[in-house]
Symmetry: C2
Subunit: 358 residues, 2 copies
C-alpha cells in the first residue's frame, strides 16, 4: 500500500523531469491520484508508463500553449497544442465553467490533446460551482461498430456529475462499451480470463482472452449484440466521437492517436491530436439551486429506496461505489499491482528519482 502523498510526489517528479512546469506537473498529477483514490486503478499508476513512452517517442508537447481558437458566448474550441491530456482537459473544463458563469452554460470541444485519463475528474470540477459537469473523450480505436469486425472507436466514456443538497453528488462515469479497456489491461496483467460478451476475435466471434485486442480482435459496444441494443452503444460512442473530435478538428474514430505503445501511429491524419468535449451548466440557469438540490436529494432517496432484486441488498446511486472506495483507500492506502510497481521503478531509475517497491 502507498500513501496518496507518496504517489503524488512521485508522479509530479516524473512529469517535472520530463520538463513540465511545476503547475502543469501538478495539474496532470492531480488527475492520476484522483483516479487511484476513486479506485480507478485502470486510470492511475498503470498509465504512467504510457505517458513515459509517449514522451520518449516525442509524441507529447511538454511546453504547450493550450488556447481558445474559436468561440461564441457559450462555446469554444480549445487547441491543446499536443499537451498531456490531463492538462489540456483541465484547462478546457475551466474555460467551460467560465463561459457558464456569463452565458448560463459553457461547451468546449478540444483538439490537439492526448489521453486524458479519468473522465469523471473533469465533470466533477463543475460541482463546487453549483453546475452540472459533462466530460466526454475519444480513446484508442479498439471497438468495432455493430455488424463490423474493424476497431473504429474508443471506449469513449461519458461522465456527468450533478450536485445534490444534503447527500453526496450524483457522479456517473462510464465507457460506452460493456467494460472499460482498463479492465482488460488489469485482467491481462493478472493472467485472468474474461467473461464472454466483452470482446470479439478477428472473425467477430466472442472471446475470453483479455489480450485479444492485441491479436486483431476488438471490443464491442454497450448492448453487446444487435438484438440487445449494441447499435445504441455504437450510436452513443459515435456521438462522443463527433462532439469530441469532429467538432474540435481532432483525429476522429480510427485516426485517434494511440496512447498505447503496441498501437502504431496512423500515417493518415484527419485533424490535430486527440479530442474531448466538456460541458458546464449553471443550475441557476434553470432553477433556484436550493430548490434543485432539495429535489436531487429526493431523487436520490427515491432511487435508494427501490426494491432490490434477490441476492442484492441495495440499489446504488451512480458514484456510490467510487465514493466508498475513496473513503477506504484514503484510509488504507493505494494498492499498486507489482507489474506496475516495476514499471514505476524503471521510470524512477531512468530519471534518478526515488521509488520504493512494496
Amino acid at each position: 500500500m502507498y500513501r496518496p502523498e507518496y504517489l503524488e510526489k512521485f508522479t509530479r517528479e516524473v512529469f517535472e523531469k520530463m520538463g513540465c512546469s511545476p503547475e502543469d506537473a501538478k495539474m496532470a498529477t492531480d488527475v492520476f491520484i484522483a483516479a487511484e483514490l476513486r479506485g480507478y486503478s485502470s486510470h492511475g499508476m498503470i498509465r504512467i508508463k504510457d505517458y513515459f513512452q509517449l514522451w520518449q517517442a516525442g509524441r507529447i508537447n511538454i511546453k504547450p500553449d493550450v488556447r481558445v481558437v474559436h468561440e461564441s458566448p457559450s462555446t469554444a474550441v480549445v487547441d491543446g497544442d499536443g499537451a498531456i491530456g490531463m492538462i489540456a482537459a483541465t484547462k478546457s473544463m475551466q474555460i467551460a465553467i467560465e463561459k457558464a458563469r456569463t452565458a448560463g452554460t459553457g461547451w468546449v470541444s478540444t483538439r490537439g490533446s492526448n489521453h486524458y485519463g479519468f473522465a469523471g475528474y473533469y465533470s466533477m470540477m463543475a460541482l463546487k460551482h453549483d453546475m452540472i459537469g459533462i466530460s466526454l473523450t475519444i480513446a484508442n480505436p479498439l471497438v468495432a461498430p455493430t455488424f463490423s469486425i474493424e476497431p473504429m472507436l474508443g471506449t469513449n466514456p461519458i461522465s456527468v456529475s450533478v450536485p445534490a443538497g444534503k447527500y453526496p453528488p450524483f457522479v456517473s462515469d462510464f465507457s460506452t462499451t460493456p467494460i472499460a479497456r482498463g479492465k482488460l489491461a488489469i485482467a491481462a496483467k493478472k493472467g485472468e480470463k474474461i467473461p464472454l460478451g466483452w470482446v470479439q476475435d478477428a472473425d467477430g466471434v466472442p472471446s475470453d482472452d483479455p489480450d485479444i485486442i492485441t491479436k486483431g480482435g476488438s471490443m464491442v459496444t454497450l448492448g453487446g449484440t444487435a438484438q440487445h441494443g449494441s447499435h445504441k452503444g455504437y450510436a452513443l460512442s459515435a456521438i462522443v466521437d463527433i462532439l469530441s473530435a469532429v467538432l474540435s478538428g481532432a483525429n476522429f474514430g480510427p485516426f485517434c492517436p494511440p496512447s498505447l505503445a503496441f498501437l502504431p501511429v496512423k500515417e493518415e491524419k484527419v485533424g490535430e491530436g486527440t479530442g474531448h468535449f466538456f460541458g458546464a451548466m449553471r443550475i441557476d440557469g434553470f432553477q433556484k439551486p436550493e430548490v434543485f438540490k432539495a429535489q436531487m436529494d429526493k431523487w436520490i432517496e427515491t432511487f435508494r429506496a427501490a426494491k432490490p432484486a434477490k441476492g442484492h441488498d441495495r440499489v446504488l446511486i451512480p458514484g456510490d461505489i467510487e465514493r466508498e472506495r475513496e473513503a477506504q483507500i484514503s484510509k488504507e492506502g493505494i494498492n499498486v499491482i507489482v507489474p506496475v510497481q516495476k514499471e514505476m521503478k524503471e521510470i524512477a531509475d531512468f530519471f534518478g528519482i526515488p521509488f520504493e517497491m512494496n
Copy 2:
C-alpha cells in the same frame, strides 16, 4: 396501406375535435406522421388512442400557455402547462434554437408536458439551422435500475442529430434500454414472444412475455446484466431523468405521469407533468460550418467503409435505416396494423369524422 396525407388529415381532425387550435393540431400531427414515415410505428398511430384516453380522462390541457418561466442567455425552463407533449416539445425546441442563435447554444428543460412521441423529430429540427440537435425525455416508469425489480425509470430515449455536407445527416434516436417499449406493444398486439434479455418478471427473472410489464415485471437498462454494463444503461437513463425532470421541476422517475391507460396516476406528485430536455448547438460556435460538414462527410465515409462481420454486407450510420424506410414508406404508403385501425375507427366514430379501415 394509407397515404401519409390521409392519416395526417385524420390525426389533425382528431386533435381539432378534442379542441386544439388548428396550429396546435397541426404541430402535434406532424410528429405522429413523421414517426410513421421513419418507420417508428411504435410512436405513430398506435399512440393516438393513448392521447384520446388521456383527453377523455381530463389529463391534458387542450388550450395550454406554453411559456418560459426561468432563463439565462443559453438556458430556459419551459412550462408546458399540461399540453399535448408534441406541442410543448416542439415549442421548447424552437426556444432552444432561438437561444443558440445568439448564445452559441440553447438548452431547454421542459416540465408540465406529456408523452412527446418520436424523440428524433425534435433533434432533427436543428439540422436546417446548421445546428446539432439534442432531445431527451422521460417516459412511463417501466424500467428497473440495476440490482432492482422495481420499475423506476422510463425507456428514456436519447436523440442527437448532426448535419453533414453531401451526405444525409447523422440522426441517432435510441432508448436507454435494450429495446423501445413500443417493440413490446407491437409484439403483444401480434401475439409474439420476445427474446430473453429485454424484460424481467416480478422476481427479476428474464421473461419472453411482451406483456410482462403489465404483470409486475419490468424492463431492464441497456447492457442487460450488471456484468455486461447494465449499470451504464441505468446511469444514462438517470441522466436523462435528471436533465428532463429534476432540472425542469417535472415528476421524475417513478412519478412520471403515465401515458398508458393501464398505469394508474401516482397519488404523490413531485413536480409538474412530464419532463423533456432539448439542446441546440450552432456548428459555427465551434468551427466554420463548411469545414465541419466536410469532416462529417469524411466521418461517414470512414464508418461506412468499416469491414463488415460475416453475414453482414455493410456497417450502418445512425439514421440510415430510418431514412431508407422513409423513402420506401413515402412511396408505398403507411401500414397500420388492424388492431390499431380498429382503435382509430372507434375514435373516428366517437368524433363523427371519416376513417376507412383497409
